[in-house]
């Protein structure tokens, strides 16, 4: 028991540094996923039938295959095959971002379609082009409605980021494994790692909740 606690205490800074890597991977992936997911969502709501179909297939594809399979496919497969040298960190971020883009597109799509048709109509009636209407009227409202979804997405991604250990990204999970296999304190170390994940999930969730409160507008939430 005492030994377990000592091992945890000694490993803590090393593990916390790992958790920072997780957070960096997740935030970059979310940003990347947002940049892809936003046009996907807009296309899925306002695009023609063909575009909607293509986006539907994209979403189905990235939501239907496990993260681990994508990681192997991209890291050992695609990039090696194309003879491009990328770090495990980059691949992990990219894969998480691609998967997240599919989920984020659905969060945003849900938010956009929950707005009343009247918002678009009124914007057009003022003489706004569809692009202007989407940028100035639809998206500012949709983003606000999406924050709870993003909070959820952050929590999911953070936990999923532990899987990038399979590529050797030196994040929390891999560091925990490293300590555990040297000290044989598997139980204690993995429990500690689990709690660190829990804490970082909590911090991120709290931060997003505060943001949610900050930007919230009367009558503009679900």
């Amino acid at each position: 028991m005492i030994k377990s606690l000592l091992v945890i205490q000694q490993g803590l800074p090393y593990m916390l540094q790992g958790a920072v890597v997780n957070v960096i991977v997740v935030l970059s992936a979310m940003l990347f996923g947002f940049m892809l997911g936003l046009p996907l969502a807009v296309g899925q709501v306002y695009g023609n039938r063909f575009l909607r179909r293509i986006i539907g297939i994209y979403v189905w594809f990235f939501r239907g295959i496990p993260l681990l399979v994508f990681l192997f496919l991209f890291y050992f497969g695609l990039f090696t095959w194309l003879d491009i040298n990328v770090s495990a960190f980059m691949v992990a971020t990219m894969v998480l971002g691609l998967i997240s883009s599919a989920y984020q597109s659905q969060i945003l799509r849900g938010a956009i379609s929950s707005l009343s048709q009247g918002q678009m109509k009124a914007a057009r009636a003022l003489g706004m082009s569809d692009t202007k209407a989407i940028v100035f009227i639809i998206l500012p409202q949709a983003f606000r409605l999406s924050i709870p979804g993003w909070t959820n997405e952050y929590a999911i991604l953070l936990k999923d980021s532990a899987v990038t250990y399979a590529l050797g990204v030196t994040e929390l999970m891999s560091r925990a494994h490293h300590i555990a296999s040297r000290t044989y304190e598997h139980l204690a170390i993995y429990l500690a790692a689990g709690f660190i994940f829990l804490i970082f999930t909590y911090i991120g969730t709290k931060a997003l909740n505060i943001l949610h409160k900050k930007v919230t507008i009367p009558g503009c939430s679900q």
């Binding site: 009343s116 009124a122 009636a125 009227i137 409202q141 009367p218 009558g219 503009c220």
Partner: protein
């Protein structure tokens, strides 16, 4: 306020179907500057659809719209936006932008569509809010306003664009009875100020006192049109009068 010039807005032979369901059958209407035309008729008769074809929120299948002598080509995006900018629209359920304050709702068209500077837009927006009696509510969000206040903001929003014609689709239908008066009086003032308007309404008394011409629309066709006195006079054997009598029985107007 009537002037005997060319019509400012002409709607020619507009037809619209949804699927196999034809909602508008070859509807034509023209209106001169300063005129007020009021459309009445049973629910589902196509009033809203008709008004929305005028600014192409609903694309007509056939027919054309001519504004100030210029026949609008709706497939030219720029021309379409210019046309819509010049035609103000008031919706039954207000459609204020929920994420913007009353003031920002009025400003946004001027800034994003007309390209006005923020400062000038704010000044004009405040003037318009003042005109509809809502200067003090400028910083409220739509959710914090009553129905009547929302509709007045939406009128201010349309006016700020300096429209040549206003379309009003049952502007008081979604309001509690005690709030109808404040919106009606704003609309009345607009008419006195010479605004050209086409309005759909179920408020017969209001229609009668305001309209230069009443248009009775049923099943997607204009069945009758004429001055309120012609159509609604005691003993006039018109469909319009029948309809109004029936509404009066139910609604007690």
């Amino acid at each position: 306020m009537k002037t005997d010039t060319e019509p400012i807005l002409e709607i020619n032979h507009v037809t619209k179907s949804f699927g196999t369901n034809t909602i508008l059958h070859d509807v034509s209407l023209s209106i001169k500057k300063g005129e007020i035309k009021v459309i009445i008729g049973p629910s589902g008769g196509g009033k809203s659809t008709f008004l929305q074809t005028v600014n192409f929120l609903v694309m007509p299948d056939k027919g054309s719209i001519t504004l100030a002598g210029n026949r609008v080509n709706p497939s030219d995006k720029r021309e379409l936006c210019t046309h819509r900018r010049q035609v103000g629209m008031i919706f039954q359920d207000f459609n204020l932008f929920d994420h913007l304050t009353a003031l920002a709702n009025v400003e946004i068209g001027m800034i994003k569509v007309l390209g006005m500077k923020k400062k000038a837009a704010t000044e004009r927006a405040m003037a318009e809010l003042d005109r509809v009696g809502l200067k003090d509510q400028a910083n409220q969000y739509p959710a914090q306003l009553s129905g009547g206040q929302k509709q007045r903001v939406s009128i201010a929003r349309a006016l700020a664009m300096d429209p040549r014609v206003m379309l009003l689709d049952e502007p008081t239908s979604a309001l509690d009875p005690e709030l109808i008066g404040e919106v009606q009086s704003v609309i009345r003032d607009l008419g006195k100020g010479g605004m050209t308007m086409i309005m759909a309404t179920h408020q017969i008394g209001f229609a009668r006192s305001l309209a230069d011409e009443i248009i009775f629309m049923e099943k997607g066709r204009i069945v009758e049109q004429g001055s309120p006195d012609e159509l609604l006079a005691q003993g006039a054997a018109t469909r319009t009068r029948d309809f109004c009598a029936r509404i009066a029985e139910i609604g007690g107007e």
